[in-house]
């Protein structure tokens, strides 16, 4: 049996494509949207998020047989909060500028419903090994949506990608103007709405075939 057919691979890819935490299950958009004005902070947030969700899934899964079920939410919150503190301290130590740009949104990973949701729905009833793949998949599924959003916002809002200008000067000279609204709140809401519409439409088409 090759790796692509294994159970691990399925657990890993399922949340990226079919059960994407943001666009299908509508979880965790709270903290996702504010940092997506540029691609680089979004990638960092994705990495932090993936690390936290993978580790929290593994730890909670290891402890799943000894956590009394009536205080499990508090236990989960403590595990997640400790991991987020670690991530925050690491960012502050090695990537200070980006940690300033992310400001409170690193801390808000704690209340990101995806992590609590996966801990409750998956880690409490599966082995640590499978939970790790589930955590990785969900982290990357979350990351790919925010990176797509950040790509469009940075391209349309500031005419650049990864902080480098990509819209050539002669287009500006012809009267092209950056869409400032993409950098503001309404732009994101509408952009996410349109992306989810596109995804639904593509899925409906694929289903018919």
């Amino acid at each position: 049996m090759s790796f692509r057919n294994s159970k691990e691979w399925k657990t890993f890819t399922e949340p990226i494509i079919h059960a994407n935490p943001i666009s299908v299950a509508v979880l965790g958009i709270c903290s996702a949207l504010a940092v997506t004005t540029q691609i680089i902070p979004s990638i960092i947030l994705m990495l932090a998020m993936t690390a936290v969700i993978t580790l929290s899934n593994v730890i909670i899964s290891i402890m799943r047989n000894i956590i009394p079920s009536n205080i499990r939410i508090i236990v989960e919150l403590v595990v997640i909060a400790s991991l987020v503190i670690l991530a925050d301290q690491l960012l502050k130590a090695f990537l200070f500028d980006i940690s300033k740009a992310l400001s409170v949104f690193v801390g808000l990973i704690i209340t990101n419903c995806i992590i609590m949701g996966r801990a409750e729905a998956f880690a409490l009833s599966n082995t640590p090994w499978m939970s790790m793949w589930d955590g990785l998949g969900n982290g990357l599924g979350y990351g790919y949506v925010i990176i797509v959003v950040a790509f469009f916002r940075e391209l349309l809002g500031s005419g650049s990608l990864f902080g480098i200008q990509v819209v050539p000067d002669f287009i500006y000279a012809m009267g092209y103007v950056n869409m400032g609204i993409m950098l503001l709140a309404p732009g994101v809401f509408i952009l996410i709405g349109l992306l989810a519409w596109l995804e639904n439409a593509l899925k409906a088409k694929g289903g018919k075939r």
Partner: protein, 202 residues
Amino acid sequence: MELFNLAVESIFINNILLALFLGLCSFLGCASNLKTATGLGLAVIFVLTITTPTNWAINEFLLRPGALAWAGFPEVDLSFLVFIVFIAVIASQVQLVEMVMEKYAPALYTSLGIFLPLIAVNCAILGTSLFMEQRQYDFAESVVFGFSSGLGWLLAIVAFSSVLQKVKYANLPKGLAGFPINMIVTGLIAMAFLSFAGLKLT
């Protein structure tokens, strides 16, 4: 007057939901019924008004660098504990409010139902506390900031919920119904709130 400006700013200009994206999960989940949306909004105001000053006090006297000077430890810096302490305070206060309410205001308690415990993991609450800490508000400011952030959240969810009542009867393309149209409606409301930008009372 400064406090009033802060209130106007956090209700309209930097609306916690429409400009800072906090509390979106429960916003999208509970908006389909105007009545529960209003109840949830009131609960958020209430919890924010008590948790933000509590967290302010804890940060001021226990956690910030040099805060333990009164106990004889001026060099101790516990600020890395902020996240875990804030979330614990929020969770336990929500629990406390729930128990007090159940005893003394059973009518209000039953009408809020499951929304009270849900608020503990609402990012709007933790977010407000973290912004309060980051912007270094004083006590009065933290009370006003907590209350008016909650009021802004209530306004946004009531507006959104009312729009959804109409959207229900609209004839939408198939893929657009549900989550996509909700986001677009939120975007349009956010755009309306943008017109408050720069508003300042002197």
